[in-house]
């Protein structure tokens, strides 16, 4: 269990790290994009902490999932919203948990359907083992060591809470 206080701390650390990376790379007007739903909760806080100029973007990757034909379609897909053009822009992509890497692949595919970003930086609140694609995060809040049947889950939006659950 990771409680609210710890999560606030984690997110502050992530914000600091991101700020440092942006400064080092001299990036002025990065576009932050949160992935529905948990990633967006984390992104909202990071966006506030970093005081970014561009409004926050939202990405729903349901239409881009590669397991669509297995799990079917979720009728409650929310529209993706990118407030500005992604062409030649530096993107800060935010998700809650990095596991297989498939969600990030889908998100990057969707971003590339909107245009050609200058760079994409990936920030995740948590990461765990089990990658199925060569995808790594640039900024990680916390690393989880999990058993084979364990999963880590973020609930929210208020308060944010990370919990480890047994997979059924």
């Amino acid at each position: 269990m990771t409680e609210q206080d710890d999560i606030d701390k984690l997110i502050r650390q992530m914000a600091d790290e991101l700020r440092a990376r942006l400064e080092a790379a001299r990036i002025g007007d990065a576009l932050m994009v949160g992935i529905h739903t948990g990633g967006l909760w984390v992104a909202r806080r990071l966006h506030r902490l970093l005081g970014l100029e561009q409004p926050l973007g939202e990405l729903d990757i349901s239409f881009y999932r590669d397991d669509f034909s297995r799990i079917g379609i979720n009728p409650q897909v929310r529209p993706s919203r990118l407030p500005v053009s992604v062409d030649d822009r530096h993107i800060l992509l935010v998700d809650d948990i990095l596991h297989t890497g498939r969600t990030i692949r889908a998100a990057m595919n969707e971003l590339f359907d909107y245009g050609r970003p200058a760079s994409i930086t990936l920030a995740v609140l948590g990461e765990r083992s089990g990658r199925e694609l060569p995808i790594q995060a640039d900024v990680v809040g916390r690393h989880f060591d999990l058993g084979e049947h364990e999963h880590v889950k973020l609930s929210g939006p208020e308060p944010l809470r990370l919990s480890i659950v047994e997979a059924p």
């Binding site: 881009y64 669509f68 297995r70 009728p75 929310r78 529209p79 359907d113």
Partner: protein, 324 residues
């Protein structure tokens, strides 16, 4: 020996969409909700999603149609499917043989979905019975039987405008007898539970025993329109003037044509729908078709999202059985 389950798989999910009849209320609502999320796809700058990438959709049209064919094609393309169009000369398929040959050819083709339009009632069911187990069939209109995607886009349009179905009074006006659209609308509206569903037409344009579908019948347009929330006008085929169905277009328009004056009997915020193409001055006056209460163009644009929803739900149902 009833074959109610043809369009559902063993788990009760939609495998084909052949008719609205037999769909559960929740299933229809699911389709409408999914269509709602696809509306955002057509609104934003990226108009295409990769949901059906690698799938092949074959539009199999045994009967001429521009609009329906185009919207199905657009819907499939926006889902990144490969789309193939086969227009079959209807005169060549009058005899059973060529349809049979066609079926065998289609079985040999590696495709995932057939969108079928045919002049005979039951054609989509027939094809659905003969396709390989992984192939889905969507009925894009068969004879006078069904046109489920049209009815769904109409329901979608009504829901966007009116919200709930339960309080609504709906009037369907015109050639019910020959209309597959009307049959599918009636099934959809009764399943969604509108408060009152009326059909308005002279007896020559009403099938015998139409009340068994759960509608109120009236032959008087003014009575049918009274306090209606939704008015659906049906297209009157010119050939109905032959064969003693109707005396003349003029008399039809005077008796059953929708004019501004007659529309005033419906509720002030009533919407006017028409599956198109419109015969102006035959079933509907231009001033109504282009007027503030008309949602006819909205129906057309909603058609794409609804068809995207149906296609993705039917194909996104289950893994292929073969090759684990």
């Amino acid at each position: 020996m009833r074959r109610h389950s043809l369009q559902h798989d063993a788990e009760g999910r939609l495998r084909h969409l052949l008719t609205i009849e037999g769909l559960k209320r929740a299933q229809i609502v699911d389709i409408l909700d999914t269509a709602e999320s696809f509306i955002s796809v057509s609104d934003q700058q990226v108009r295409k999603v990769p949901l059906l990438r690698g799938k092949t959709v074959v539009n199999l049209f045994f009967e001429a149609s521009t609009r329906t064919l185009t919207t199905f094609e657009l819907a499939a393309k926006r889902l990144s499917a490969d789309v193939l169009k086969i227009n079959i000369n209807t005169s060549a398929t009058v005899k059973g043989e060529s349809l049979l040959d066609m079926l065998h050819n289609l079985e040999a083709m590696q495709c995932d979905m057939f969108v079928v339009r045919h002049a005979d009632s039951g054609a989509a069911h027939l094809i659905a019975r003969h396709v390989a187990p992984h192939v889905s069939v969507i009925n894009a209109g068969d004879g006078s039987h069904a046109h489920p995607t049209q009815a769904l886009l109409d329901m979608f349009t009504i829901r966007r405008r009116k919200g709930e179905f339960a309080p609504l009074t709906v009037a369907i006006v015109g050639d019910i007898k020959h209309s597959r659209v009307a049959r599918s609308q009636i099934h959809a509206l009764t399943t969604l539970g509108v408060s009152e569903l009326r059909v308005v037409a002279p007896k020559t344009l009403l099938p015998a025993d139409v009340e068994t579908l759960g509608v109120h019948v009236t032959h008087d347009l003014d009575e049918g329109l009274r306090d209606a929330d939704v008015v659906i006008m049906l297209r009157l085929q010119k050939e109905r003037m032959q064969g003693a169905m109707l005396p003349s277009e003029g008399e039809y328009f005077r008796t059953y044509g929708l004019t501004e004056e007659r529309l005033a009997r419906a509720k002030a915020d009533a919407i006017v729908m028409h599956p198109g193409p419109i015969n102006r001055g035959v079933e509907i006056a231009s001033s109504v078709a282009d007027g503030p209460q008309s949602v006819i163009l909205e129906q057309v644009s909603n058609g794409i999202a609804v068809r995207m929803a149906v296609m993705s739900m039917v194909l996104g149902r289950a893994p292929r059985e073969e090759g684990a």
